[in-house]
């Protein structure tokens, strides 16, 4: 079927998402909770785009295309919401994310510079008991990518989302740490993490 991305027509297979159509058209939308190795999740709301006739912005990663859909990736309201989301995410971190991380890249691309909301930030909490994998819990933004990598890519089922609201985070086993959980040390979590909340010890 045919969809229009920023004025350009593109042919996509039935079942393709708006994000896939945007990428097929050579376009770009920022994403934070998306990883092409995992099923779309739709948690972060950073991939919002405008759709002709819709009441408001729609998430590109989880919305399936329909024939004739017209998408505006530069939709002003979608960009404004996405920017606010990233700003809120950053406001919870005690330190800015490292420049190479996806979160930092997305923040730069959306022009988020200063965070306007001072206040409580995550408590610094590091776990370096594993020879290769470290938690920096204060950088966790609860995007769920590590948990899904562990479940959907490796199948070790070692990681779990934990806590609620501001204290939401991720843990291996029942707070057992990587070594004493069912973790097989594949590192898929560190590979997908957009903030270095899980990272390689050697790169710290």
């Amino acid at each position: 079927m045919k969809v229009t991305i920023d004025g350009h027509d593109v042919e996509v297979e039935a079942g393709a998402t708006v994000l896939e159509a945007v990428r097929a058209a050579g376009g770009w939308v920022p994403t934070l909770c998306f990883d092409e190795r995992q099923a779309p999740f739709g948690a972060c709301r950073v991939c919002l785009v405008g759709a002709a006739g819709a009441r408001g912005p729609i998430p590109a990663c989880t919305t399936p295309c329909r024939d004739g859909l017209e998408i505006d990736t530069a939709d002003e309201r979608a960009r404004r919401v996405a920017k606010a989301v990233v700003e809120l995410v950053l406001s919870e971190l005690p330190v800015p994310p490292a420049p190479h991380t996806e979160l930092a890249t997305v923040a730069r691309s959306l022009g988020v510079e200063d965070v306007r909301w001072p206040g409580a930030t995550h408590r610094v909490d590091h776990d370096e008991r594993h020879p290769y994998l470290a938690f920096q819990h204060e950088l966790c933004i609860s995007c769920g990518r590590c948990v899904r990598a562990c479940d959907e890519v490796q199948g070790a089922f070692a990681l779990t989302a934990t806590g609620r609201g501001f204290t939401a985070n991720v843990t291996a086993g029942l707070d057992a740490g990587f070594r004493d959980s069912t973790c097989v040390s594949c590192g898929a979590c560190a590979d997908t993490c957009p903030t270095d909340a899980i990272t390689e010890i050697t790169l710290l």
Partner: protein
């Protein structure tokens, strides 16, 4: 990922197992800082395991060989490349003059690149003049290669690992991929979560057994009876594909006759598998629209391993489950380039693409290309080399990237052979158990330091590119082999591994269209036509045998080479651990050791209780040929009457226990069935086992 933390990022192919993960190697200050999976890797699709991703510290280990070493008294001294070269040329020339070229033998390495293996083959065949050449696939998947050529025609998987994603059912026999081939293990596990009906067949209750619909636990050494039993049920219950049998195969009638003797009850007697489970397994496989069969060393490393692989092929042929996406036979090849090292002709009886050394036309084509006369006589296989060294026919060996004194069976015999040689060259990245017996040790390079190609278990040529330099004055294997050949008077004339691959392609119709440029990021699955068209699926229309027909093999079950008796009442099975790789030369020099630092012997609770053994106890394991000491771990993942351990640790030296029983067709050792006596060691155990006296 390009970022400020790294100076250089290079796309390459993993040097651990045969899955062939494509990796991004990130270097900083001339050292590997990190490795991440390539998102477009055909076999790994953005994933890899703890070996590929993290176990790279060995590359900067202080124990790396950085200069040539020459034996002096009981030790070694540093030497220049010039001195090492002169010594090698002088000794090999002397031995060749005194005893003829067949007194010299070479081993290529399944960890090295295709170009390295081809260079080694050319060095031994052209510069030395003998076919005494083999590689470590001899001791792992040579039975697979032999059987696939017999049954289907070509020595490789019929499809790709992605076939698991399109299959409705699968049989996994004699393999533990979540540890041995973790990325394929993860793929199979994900497929089961989406509904793949998996049947696991293994004496141990492997992790994937928990995700399958049925687990069969045969007595070690009875795989042939299991396959014949499955085949019997498929035929008895009318689940065969008659049209496929009629149009595309031959020899079915002879098999039908044989099958009469393998009714489920009879098979239960031999294997211990309940008849009803065997019947259920046959139905799961045969009734699926598409189904795959995958196997590992639990099938091949047996006295009749090559016959079992043919019996596996029978099952696929009679149900028509071969030659299309989703229905593939996928052997899990052990090392990164165990497919390629044999493809390249690093074997005593074949040139590239398994063409026989006594095939006049083929031999002449190589004689024209290399400008020297070549022997038409088959050379020694690895076990034959050791026998010949002991009885004095073999005087010199060149062992490249292989630690035979740790990994080959009957260690005491191997050591006796190495000690009997007049001259031994070892080419490696570390000193190993084998280099202790060397006269010259050449410092070589790891996969992160070299250029060339590996061929993975899917027959896919993939590029290997250097991210760092070899340490000190170490050289790449390609440089060493071409330099030594030149010094021996045979200049191979290649400026680069890419030029070497061009020669391979020019001399090998099956790889006619292969070049480094064409391989690119996506790889090429052989056969590759001259125009570059590759072959993800084999046998879509016909088999690569005369007449185009697949061949059934009517081979009866025969008892394994060893069996339990009063003196040795328990069967030892050996295998691998997730955290370690083969002889452990690389992984034992990384933090993987922190995750798994000491091996253990798995023993069933019933046996443990009877023998007064508990987890953590030191135990003695004695076989007909040797004895080791290790630590027990009680687990019900193994059946009563069996014990299991790995062979990664020289401190344990498991292969002291393995006798000389080997596959009848390929002499692949029977690592998987060894009768042993297990008992607790009451006092503090010796950590280094003594070699048996010879």
């Amino acid at each position: 990922m390009s970022d400020e933390r790294f100076d250089l990022t290079v796309s390459t192919t993993c040097g651990y197992c045969g899955v062939g993960c494509r990796l991004e190697a990130h270097a900083r200050g001339g050292k590997i800082a990190s490795i991440s999976p390539a998102l477009d890797g055909p076999a790994n699709e953005g994933h890899t395991c703890l070996k590929g991703r993290f176990a790279h510290q060995f590359s900067r280990s202080r124990e790396r060989l950085t200069a040539p070493l020459i034996r002096e008294g009981s030790g070694f001294r540093l030497a220049s490349w010039e001195e090492a070269t002169n010594r090698i040329v002088a000794e090999l020339t002397r031995i060749k003059a005194a005893h003829g070229p067949d007194a010299i033998a070479g081993l290529a390495s399944s960890r090295a690149t295709n170009e390295d293996c081809y260079a080694m083959a050319r060095l031994i065949r052209a510069a030395i003049g003998t076919n005494n050449l083999d590689n470590c696939s001899r001791v792992c998947h040579s039975p697979t290669s032999f059987a696939l050529r017999r049954s289907f025609g070509l020595s490789g998987a019929t499809g790709s690992f992605t076939d698991f994603d399109y299959a409705d059912a699968a049989i996994l026999i004699g393999a533990n991929p979540t540890e041995g081939h973790p990325v394929v293990g993860a793929r199979i596990k994900q497929a089961t979560l989406r509904g793949l009906r998996l049947v696991t067949i293994d004496p141990r209750r492997i992790e994937l057994a928990d995700y399958g619909v049925l687990h069969l636990s045969p007595r070690p050494g009875t795989n042939a009876a299991v396959m014949l039993g499955l085949t019997h049920v498929v035929r008895r219950d009318g689940l065969i594909d008659r049209a496929f049998i009629d149009e595309r195969t031959e020899g079915y009638e002879a098999l039908e006759e044989l099958l009469e003797a393998y009714a489920p009850d009879a098979v239960e007697e031999i294997t211990g598998i309940p008849a009803a489970d065997l019947e259920a397994a046959a139905h799961i496989y045969a009734e699926a629209e598409n189904a795959c069969i995958s196997w590992g060393l639990g099938v091949t490393e047996h006295k009749y391993g090559s016959e079992v692989v043919q019996l596996i092929c029978n099952l696929a042929l009679m149900t028509g489950k071969v030659g299309r996406v989703g229905s593939a036979l996928l052997p899990l090849r052990g090392q990164n380039n165990v497919q390629g090292s044999s493809d390249m002709g690093a074997l005593p009886d074949t040139y590239t693409a398994y063409r026989r050394v006594d095939d006049e036309e083929v031999a002449q084509s190589f004689e024209r290309a290399w400008g020297v006369p070549l022997s038409r006589n088959k050379g020694f296989t690895i076990p034959q080399m050791f026998d010949a060294a002991v009885d004095g026919r073999l005087k010199a060996m060149w062992i490249f990237g292989e630690d035979v004194a740790q990994t080959d069976p009957n260690t005491a015999h191997v050591v006796h052979a190495l000690e009997s040689l007049e001259f031994l060259v070892c080419q490696d990245i570390f000193e190993t158990e084998t280099t202790r017996y060397a006269d010259v040790i050449l410092p070589a390079s790891a996969f992160l330091e070299k250029a060339g190609t590996f061929t993975n278990a899917e027959r896919r040529f993939q590029l290997v590119a250097p991210a760092i330099d070899p340490p000190g004055s170490a050289k790449t294997d390609f440089e060493i082999l071409t330099m030594m050949s030149r010094a021996l008077g045979h200049d191979m004339g290649w400026a680069s591994p890419a030029e070497c691959m061009d020669e391979i392609a020019a001399l090998t119709p099956e790889y006619a269209g292969v070049s480094h440029e064409r391989i690119g990021r996506r790889g090429l699955q052989w056969p590759v036509a001259a125009d570059g068209t590759d072959s993800p699926v084999l046998y879509e229309r016909e088999f690569s045998l005369p007449g185009g027909r697949g061949r059934f093999a009517a081979l009866p079950y025969k008892a394994p080479g060893d069996s339990a008796d009063d003196e040795f009442p328990i069967i030892l099975i050996t295998g691998r651990r997730l955290q370690h790789y083969n002889a452990g030369t690389m992984t034992r020099r990384t933090n993987n050791l922190e995750l798994f630092g000491e091996d253990w012997l798995e023993i069933h609770p019933d046996d443990a209780e009877r023998l007064w053994i508990k987890s953590g106890d030191k135990v003695s394991v004695r076989s007909r040929v040797g004895r080791i000491e290790t630590v027990a771990r009680v687990t019900d993942r193994i059946e009563p009457g069996h014990v299991f351990t790995a062979f990664h640790f020289p401190e344990v030296r498991t292969n002291l226990l393995i006798g000389s029983s080997a596959d009848v067709n390929t002499s692949c050792p029977e690592y998987k069935v060894v009768a042993v006596d297990v008992r607790p060691v009451p006092e503090m155990a010796a950590r280094t086992p003594a070699l048996a006296t010879h």
